[in-house]
């Protein structure tokens, strides 16, 4: 069985004439908390979208290897296929099913990988009922896990930013993933929420055994959480290593300082 859950080899992604990812290679080991950092517009979200089948890079390969040892080539796969293979994600600006309750949001995640069964749904047969019961139980368990059980029946649009992040994590976990991709989970949260979120993310890995890939701006959070980092700038990997190594890397400091003045919020 491969040690690496993700293997990204020489991936290039272009939009018209704009190169969003340029010959990016990286690997992610099973069970680690890995972070991708970089200035705005460095290609972090493009990388995420390529890993989850939302974007289709023109060159290179991305291989996801599941716990069962089966390798899946991500490029060319539909997003829902990738999700079903065990890759869950959250979005930069949380994307929930806003008109549904927290409970329903997570439940949709919990039952999405079951078969469809229209007839079963229309007659509500025993299998359907059993499935419902299982998903309900998993949903409650996960809401409890992220600390939202008390808010199970709140419409998700009226949750706070911090709670939305937790809800997205719970929804992602409900799909029974092997890796969870978090796109700037700390954006829009207050310092107290940030600390809680850090603990939650670590708990996801430690308790549920889900590997974590993280994009983040908040350096404090990244340095506290990540075991390894990749640094992207202008679509290319400019450095990789442990938090201590990255902190001492001149190229990284250059990239951040050099672009800080011109960085614009994407």
């Amino acid at each position: 069985m491969s040690e690496n859950i993700f293997e990204v080899r020489n991936v290039t992604l272009r939009f018209g004439g704009v190169v969003s990812l340029n010959d990016v290679s990286l690997e992610m080991r099973r069970g680690e908390i890995l972070a991708v950092i970089g200035p705005n517009g460095a290609g972090k979200t493009s990388l995420f979208n390529s890993l989850t089948g939302v974007y289709q890079p023109q060159e290179g390969s991305i291989t996801f290897t599941g716990r069962d040892g089966k390798a899946l080539s991500i490029i060319g796969q539909k997003a829902h296929r990738v999700a079903n293979a065990g890759v869950a994600r959250t979005f930069q600006a949380s994307r929930m099913f806003s008109a549904l309750t927290a409970f329903e949001n997570v439940k949709i995640g919990a039952e999405s990988h079951r078969g469809i069964g229209v007839l079963g749904a229309m007659v509500r047969g025993p299998r359907t009922r059993r499935g419902e019961k299982d998903s309900d139980a998993l949903t409650i368990e996960l809401l409890d896990f992220v600390g939202l059980r008390a808010k199970a029946n709140v419409i998700s649009a009226s949750l706070s930013y911090g709670d939305r992040r937790r809800l997205e994590i719970a929804r992602g976990l409900a799909t029974n993933p092997q890796v969870l991709l978090l796109d700037e989970p700390a954006a829009g949260t207050n310092p107290a929420e940030k600390i809680e979120l850090t603990e939650l993310i670590r708990k996801v890995r430690d308790v549920r055994g889900v590997s974590i890939l993280l994009i983040e701006h908040d350096m404090k959070l990244v340095m506290a959480l990540a075991e390894r980092l990749y640094v992207l700038n202008f679509g290319s990997v400019i450095a990789q290593g442990t938090p201590d190594e990255i902190r001492a890397n001149d190229a990284v400091i250059e990239a951040y300082l050099g672009s800080a003045a011109t960085a614009e919020e994407k």
């Binding site: 999700a83 979005f91 229309m122 007659v123």
Partner: protein, 447 residues
């Protein structure tokens, strides 16, 4: 002067006045190419009784109405909040009650009993026929389209195609087409039910699988075109469909099971009961579906397709499924219509039909099963009433003018319908306040 005209209270008067003038023309006498202004002029100048008090001309009546409505609206804008509050207090108890499952079920049973005894109360042959052909069947159709438009959020403007497919399949298996019947023998229309449902469903899948990848507005146009194409084929394939002459005689269904003998004949009431049985079955099935995994997946796709995919939902599969369910419901309704009327003609399967069903769904409330049933019963009853005892100057095709106006009015004032689904109401509210990602599905503007 300009400032005066711009004051909300004055502007409102002109807007209501314009709306009343439009209503006047809609309800006025018809014109023709020989006398193109006769309709417009007559709409204002024809004599008309003033609410039974004295006789005057139409514009006086409508001006009076405009003033009354203006006064009510103005009063509402000043006192509305207070009135709303007191109304809410009064209706709080019944509203809370209707949220309860047991109460809802009880209400459903009561309505069902009313529906069952209705043919014994209303014995007028016009209304008995209308109850089957124009109300019960349309309830069925509205429930089917609701799965597509309400549950899955897909605008299908060619619903008539599947209804036509169901009707023509019935004619086919019962041997009423110029082409030989499907199994070589003329079958009882009851056997047409599974076949028609299967064929309609199959055509739903065949049309849907490629086109449901398209953005929502493109889908609307493609389905619109598809509805027209089916009519063109029905009209022109003389050797297969009988062309514009229509089909041959379609036999009435009959049951012949041991001691149980029954032949549905020319009287509408037995068809009414048959249709009601299926309405109840579809009603239960669809409401279970709404609250099942499938219903939740549709909601997820409708609200945010990208997020839905990220949790492993295959949008295309669920959309095709909604399309197929809607199509098979329409196909089934086609069987009922075909076996009840003696023969069918391509002229019954037009755009007008598709839009008519859409109005029922929109008026009742997209996504709300109770709403669309209510919408179908209300609108179809009114339109049958207009057909049965038309007011002066009313032509039967004028109905479409009213339906068109109703669609615009609903979208402006109450897009969620008269009896909205709670999910849909929240969704539209959230979309209007800039939350959520509903529009991406429709316009394909993914970030």
């Amino acid at each position: 002067m300009r400032a005066f005209l711009r004051r909300p209270i004055v502007r409102r008067f002109f807007m209501i006045g314009a709306a009343m003038a439009a209503l006047e023309v809609m309800t006025g006498p018809p014109g023709s190419t020989e006398a193109p202004t006769a309709g417009f002029a007559g709409s204002f100048t024809q004599p008309s009784p003033f609410f039974g008090l004295f006789s005057t001309v139409r514009w006086v009546v409508f001006l009076f109405l405009a003033v009354v409505i203006w006064a009510i609206v103005t009063l509402w804008s000043i006192q509305g909040a207070a009135i709303k509050r007191s109304v809410t207090t009064v209706t709080a108890v019944p509203r809370a009650a209707t949220q309860r499952k047991s109460v809802r079920r009880g209400l459903g049973v009561v309505l069902l009993i009313v529906a069952l005894i209705l043919p014994h109360v209303i014995t007028d042959p016009f209304w008995q026929a209308a109850m089957v052909e124009q109300i019960a069947v349309y309830v069925l159709l509205a429930m089917g389209l609701n799965v597509v438009v309400g549950f899955a959020g897909l605008l299908d403007l060619g619903f008539v195609a599947f209804y036509a497919i169901g009707a023509y399949t019935t004619a086919w298996v019962t041997g009423a087409l110029p082409t030989p019947p499907l199994f070589g023998v003329d079958l009882n229309p009851f056997f047409a039910i599974p076949i028609a449902i299967a064929i309609a469903m199959l055509s739903g899948v065949l049309l849907g699988a490629p086109t449901l990848r398209l953005r929502g507005d493109y889908l609307a146009i493609v389905t619109l075109g598809f509805g027209e194409i089916i009519t063109i084929f029905a009209n022109n394939l003389y050797g297969i469909t009988g062309g514009s002459q229509g089909t041959g005689v379609i036999p009435h269904p009959s049951i012949d099971l041991g001691p149980l003998h029954y032949v549905w004949g020319l009287t509408p009431v037995p068809y009414y009961y048959l249709t009601i049985v299926f309405v109840v079955i579809f009603l239960i099935a669809f409401s279970l579906l709404e609250h099942s995994r499938v219903g939740r997946a549709w909601t997820a796709i409708r609200e945010d397709e990208v997020a839905a995919e990220s949790v492993g939902i295959n949008p295309l599969k669920y959309k095709v499924m909604a399309f197929a369910i809607g199509a098979s419901t329409a196909g089934f309704a086609g069987v009922v219509t075909a076996s009840q009327s003696n023969n069918i003609f391509p002229s019954s399967f037009t755009l007008f039909f598709s839009i008519n069903i859409l109005v029922l769904v929109i008026f009742g409330g997209m996504g709300s099963i109770a709403g669309v049933v209510l919408g179908a019963v209300l609108i179809q009853t009114v339109s049958m009433y207009l057909l049965h005892s038309p007011p002066a100057g009313y032509q039967s095709a004028d109905l479409y003018i009213y339906l068109g106006a109703l669609l615009i009015l609903m979208m402006i004032f109450r897009p969620v319908g008269v009896l909205p689904s709670r999910r849909r109401k929240r969704e539209i509210g959230l979309a209007e306040s800039g939350e959520g990602h509903m529009d991406e599905v429709l316009t394909g503007d993914t970030p």
